[in-house]
Subunit: 529 residues, 2 copies
């Protein structure tokens, strides 16, 4: 038998024989050198081969068994376990449908997280975006193969090239230096960087009319931390929350994790349709409904506030991309109209600066401020990313952030116009884009049948273009007809040329499937068979 394991390399690394053997065999299994079902050498044989004691080898085998990489049959030897060739990186094992019931030690909370993950994974196929496919024999156009530039409309946030990294990295380095010289005391408390909270409060007062000071603001690591902690503070089994339908999955997850009930409320062209829900918490995106982009009407805003007042409920207003608005001043946020302290306003910088920067914030009513701070401190006793928080504050007060936003708004407005224009002139009739004057994506309803939509998505994957399917954000609404299919075309990471090319490919796919026929006939165009 040759030496199949990188034992000596591991021994050099870790210095302990049984560990080295454990690591070497595990690596061989992970890399497929040892296949599932394969029999391992006997401990005696392996000990001889590598000049080890049988005890060391046995110990390595025991550890492999405990971790599930191998299985020992009594008197039969030791075999590579069936699933051993896959890395257990979380996602993988859930896709295999590993049962949450196999974990007796896990709490109800943990079990709910696992179940949610399993449900999402199983519905993920059509739900999210389709991966690019290899060209099928059926697609004959040779130009597809030469195109190395696939186009993905799946939202990625602002492309890295559109962020002034030189400015940013200098600002961060300056802050680390400052912390190095003076320490971090006086810069922060458990609510986060003081100067950042001041900068945010000033901005919210000026630009959004929200009456707040730095003492109302809690900095979080992205807006999801605020949302999940607030859910945990306000929801539990026996309580109920309302969300818009469609809705960001992270919010649904935060609610379901608590064990609370969930009402998914229909939205129309004026946003969520208010009801007298029997619930204690409402999540809403009034400035720009996610993902449809519709604006919540002023009267509905008042109705939601009345509901919260009557029910003594709270509203979490997620203003996830109000900063990206090129079409005039938005309506006042709920928080600006909130006279009773029933609204928590949540925002984020991860969209304007890229997802590598995890800074969000919440404007919190008095009653919830201390609970939220305590909740945050349970996980983060000290503020996270303090240097980045300070850098952002410095960048905001120095005018850099505003300069970046002005530039970005202009650019996004231009890209959005290009995208709408392309959708209308090239795919007229297939998609109806919803109107919007902000954001980083266009939401568009599919005007054909569901079956045709799925065919188109698959053909587009072959043609090298894809987008996020709107159904990814749909919640089951009992006894209501399914929402028509829709698409989310993100554009903030693309150039105008890429947008054109992407739509051209969708058109090509639609032509190949003869989906454009009727639209063409109306325009007197040539019918594609």
């Amino acid at each position: 038998m040759s030496s199949p394991f990188a034992y000596n390399a591991k021994l050099t690394e870790c210095g302990t024989k049984h560990l080295a053997m454990f690591l070497a065999i595990r690596e061989a299994i992970a890399e497929g050198t040892l296949a599932p079902g394969e029999r391992l050498p006997s401990t005696r044989r392996l000990a001889e081969l590598y000049g080890l004691s049988r005890g060391s080898v046995s110990l390595a085998y025991e550890m492999l068994t405990a971790e599930g990489f191998v299985q020992a049959g009594i008197g039969r030897g030791t075999f590579v376990a069936g699933y051993g060739h896959k890395r257990n990186d979380g996602a993988a094992s859930s896709e295999e449908g590993e049962s949450p019931a196999a974990l007796p030690a896990i709490t109800d909370w943990g079990r709910r997280l696992l179940e949610l993950q399993a449900v999402e994974a199983s519905s993920g196929d059509v739900g999210t975006s389709v991966p690019f496919a290899a060209p099928s024999p059926a697609s004959s156009d040779p130009s597809i193969l030469e195109a190395n530039a696939r186009v993905s409309f799946v939202t990625e946030g602002l492309s890295a090239a559109r962020f002034p990294w030189q400015e940013w990295k200098s600002e961060v380095a300056r802050q680390w230096k400052r912390i190095g010289v003076y320490g971090s005391r006086g810069l922060e408390n458990s609510a986060g960087s003081l100067s950042l909270r001041k900068a945010i409060a000033g901005r919210l007062r000026r630009e959004r009319g929200i009456p707040c000071g730095e003492e109302d603001i809690v900095i979080t690591s992205g807006s999801m931390q605020a949302i999940a902690l607030l859910a945990q503070l306000l929801l539990e089994e026996g309580k109920t929350a309302v969300v818009e339908n469609p809705c960001y999955k992270g919010i649904e997850r935060a609610i379901r994790a608590t064990g609370a009930g969930l009402i998914s409320q229909r939205t129309d062209r004026s946003g969520i349709v208010p009801q007298d829900w029997e619930a204690t918490l409402l999540f809403v995106t009034p400035t720009r409904q996610f993902p449809t982009g519709v604006v919540l009407g002023y009267e509905r805003r008042q109705e939601l506030l009345l509901w919260a007042s009557k029910r003594k409920a709270f509203i979490i207003e997620d203003d996830y991309d109000s900063d990206f608005r090129w079409g005039g001043r938005p309506l006042e946020p709920l928080k600006a109209l909130d006279k009773e302290g029933r609204v928590v306003y949540v925002g984020t910088f991860s969209r304007s600066m890229g997802t590598s920067l995890r800074i969000g914030f919440a404007v919190v009513p008095r009653e919830l401020l201390q609970p939220l701070l305590l909740a945050k401190k349970l996980y983060d006793p000290y503020p996270t990313s303090l240097a980045e928080q300070q850098a952002l504050a410095g960048w905001m007060s120095g005018g850099g952030y505003d300069r970046h936003m002005r530039k970005t708004r202009r650019l996004l407005g231009k890209l959005e116009r290009k995208l709408r224009e392309c959708l209308e002139t090239n795919l007229d009739g297939l998609f109806t884009p919803f109107p919007a004057d902000a954001g980083m994506h266009v939401y568009a309803r599919w005007e054909g049948t569901e079956a045709d939509y799925e065919r188109l998505i698959r053909e587009c994957a072959v043609q090298g273009v894809r987008w996020k399917n709107g159904s990814a954000y749909e919640l089951p609404s009992a006894g209501r007809p399914k929402t028509p299919p829709s698409a989310i075309f993100g554009f903030a990471h693309l150039t105008e040329r890429e947008i054109e090319e992407g739509i051209r490919r969708i058109r090509r796919a639609a032509e190949a499937l003869s989906l454009l026929r009727d639209a063409y006939r109306e325009q007197g165009g040539k019918v594609h068979a």
Copy 2:
């Protein structure tokens, strides 16, 4: 009536009249310009004074009322509320004993957090460190007043001056640049930076004998995030956890927040005393018990693992400062002995690099890996501090981290020897330091009466020296005698000169209180009256 409010300044800032008035009055209340109980001008009068409509003023008053800053009596006018002069920054309101029962909307989880905070705040007086006091008339020594350099032995971690910030800030800036050019894709997944996980795994294999690869590691924002999430996954009402007594408060909080029961287990000079606890989770600090610094004996380590195996329980091994060891190789961590995947090993970089850097990690058994990743993603869907994670990885692989650690270890060893020497030669008999060969503090038992200890602490506050009282980490243990008083002398932020000066002041305080008499007599020294 003169103009008491900064209305015009606020108007310039926010542009909306009622907001400006709301903010201006709130500021006046916060700053004490308007005292509690003071009557506000009538809406008519204020409207005249500032040229506003009465509607705007009424709206501002309504908002102030909703937020609790003012109270309106029917037909009597509007008054500044009694507690309005204090900022509601969380800590303040709890110290006022605000009742959790006043928050009907809060979940059981949130209520437990509030109750814990209330308990900690009420026991905080003697429990933690005493603030420096103003010199009392009784203390007559004029040298106290001239001493501007007060000495605090309260642990602060490594002083900022001992960290190579130039190196670090360049490394962080380099990483931001890299993210700017290439984006962050490929660098990370939900478990954190890939290169950092590799660097940590390599280090743990080499230095701690823990058989792990990057796929076993989850990066967290400090070790508390890992601890709190694991508690939430493994504990709930009806379950029980065991902790060492004394114990880090954050761990106690994480357990109590879940509603689980808590057994606080006595520790002796060999660490926690194993029992057959009816529990499903054990938190333990084997390498260096926190805060006593004692090392858990090898046989006890085996006993704990046997217990976990028998009970199908998990052990969270918090190895919070194993990196700071100047006295030879430590015993193997529990994780290195863990053949059944029952141990989660938790570590942090916040101690070696300062609390401004929030990077911790957990080495997670297979069974808990996916649940922990899902739990983390609920709050942080993307890794936080990615640039810092990458920078740390780069710094580790480039040898910078090891250089820093070698230098720091030498330094800390020297400081610790100095501190022990001073404690023994100057305060002989008052404190008995526990032996240790690692860490950033010395734990010492007080040998006198409790009453004398409290007198000494108070006198030291006057003399300008303080430390953390060991009772801050004591848990109530039913039916067991109270642990003798103790002190935690942190030294990693001090110079040798400061250590000397601090101990000299303690000596002076002890002399002033005649506490040194007996010790002196034994040595044939002069008796101080």
